[in-house]
Amino acid sequence: MPEIIKYTEEELVLLLKKKDQQAFSYLYDNYAGALNGVINRMVNNRELAEDILQEAFVKIWNNFDNYDTGKGRLFTWMMNITRNLTIDTMRSKGYKKQAKIFGDEYSVSNLTGDNKAVERFDAMDIRNQLSNLKPEQKDIIDLAYFNGFTQEEISKQMGIPLGTVKTRMRTAILELRKMLHNK
């Protein structure tokens, strides 16, 4: 995603609170890809992902008044809206039916760390950049961040005690921070 900074996050938030459509267009250009990537990881269906992305951005626009800068970064808030919307979709009747038709490959429960569906979306350079991330570290981040798993689900999926999820997550993200900040 090209990073042509036109607005600072503060400016962007201010304009979006005023329902500035140009700022919204900028928001889309800068964050749609990242959010779409997350949705794709979760539903593994490009068309459906774009439908959810569309719904998410409309929701972001309509509920922008609810965004509180004190509660976190803009992207975190958008990410939560998007992920919740995606989880709602995946829990809906229609989606479950579709997932059944396509087989277990597309169901949530099978998106483990060594799942090929997850890796399919990894671009070459990211893979190289993140190659220092241990598989279980990448898994725990992806399960939480990209698959929307709860702590309990992660614990079950990875076969680790619930209490360990927190510390494992801490280590994994510390590693991620190191890598992304040293690029």
Binding site: Y28, V38, T76, F121, F146
Partner: protein, 268 residues
């Protein structure tokens, strides 16, 4: 928990990923407000996750943005519903009204223009149909005149027509008539246009003198007028042979057996 313990526990990471319970979330927010280091750490985690998501970005297809932008334009008033009812109503009116206002204005203008043209064209068409009717009447009259004149011309120009001039008798002031006698068929035509108008209660009778005896050739009509002009030439009874023709003035009524007062006469 002190700041270090909070940071190293991993709860902030879970918080940033939206995996904390409501209680935990409130706890973390309290710490963030209380300790700048915690807030700073949260920001760092958020940024790293944001970068991670950007690294895994999948650019959506082009129409998605268009769909979103058109969706927010149509749902814009819905947003204001959450504020106050009146604001929402205002927004709706603002969005929809100008369009319909323009449509209504355009409709009225078109209607007025249409009415104006209807009125103008109706008047014009009324005028034209009146003019057409009068023109047709004129044409009909002209045709009648032309027809009568053609008939006159036909009689005069016939190569078998022998003209006979009837001149006024000595005791008559000023009168004349002309006969066209068709030698082949015996038909007799008279042009009475130079006879004076008969006095009231009188009319002219036509005679042929055959072997010294006057025979009636019929009454002459001096009343028929076409378009203000007297019919010039009219057909009388046919005579195979005659030595002279005459016109007499008689009392109005049926033909008389003998002429009472001869006005004009002419020999063949």
């Amino acid at each position: 928990m002190n700041v270090k313990e909070i940071i190293s526990s991993g709860i902030l990471e879970l918080y940033c990923m939206g995996l904390t319970s409501e209680t935990e979330t409130n706890e973390v927010r309290q710490w963030a407000a209380q300790y700048p280091e915690v807030a700073e750490e949260i920001k760092a985690i958020e940024t790293s996750l944001e970068n991670y998501a950007q690294q895994n970005a999948i650019i959506p297809s082009a129409p998605v943005k268009e769909k979103i932008l058109s969706a927010i334009n149509t749902t814009a008033p819905v947003v204001d519903m959450s504020k106050t009812g009146s604001a929402a109503t205002k927004a709706v009116v603002k969005q929809v009204f100008p369009f319909w206002k323009n449509v209504a204005a355009a409709s009225i203008i078109l209607l007025l223009a249409s009415l104006f043209f209807n009125y103008t064209f109706y008047n014009k068409s009324q005028l034209l149909s009146k003019e057409l009717a009068s023109t047709q009447t004129d044409l009909l009259k002209q045709k009648e005149i032309t027809g009568a004149m053609k008939q006159d011309m036909g009689v005069m120009a016939d190569r078998n027509a022998q003209p006979v001039s009837l001149n006024a008798m000595p005791d008559v002031a000023d009168a004349a008539a002309r006969i066209y006698w068709m030698k082949n068929s015996g038909e007799v035509y008279i042009d009475p246009s130079n006879l004076p108008a008969p006095p009231k209660g009188k009319q002219y009778q036509f005679w042929a003198i055959v072997d010294g005896v006057p025979e009636s050739g019929g009454m002459i009509n001096t009343d028929i007028e076409v378009n203000g002009k007297k019919v010039h030439i009219q057909k009388m009874k046919s005579f195979g042979r005659a030595q002279a023709f005459a016109v007499s003035l008689e009392d109005a009524g049926p033909e008389k057996p003998v002429p009472s007062k001869v006005i004009v006469m002419g020999k063949i």
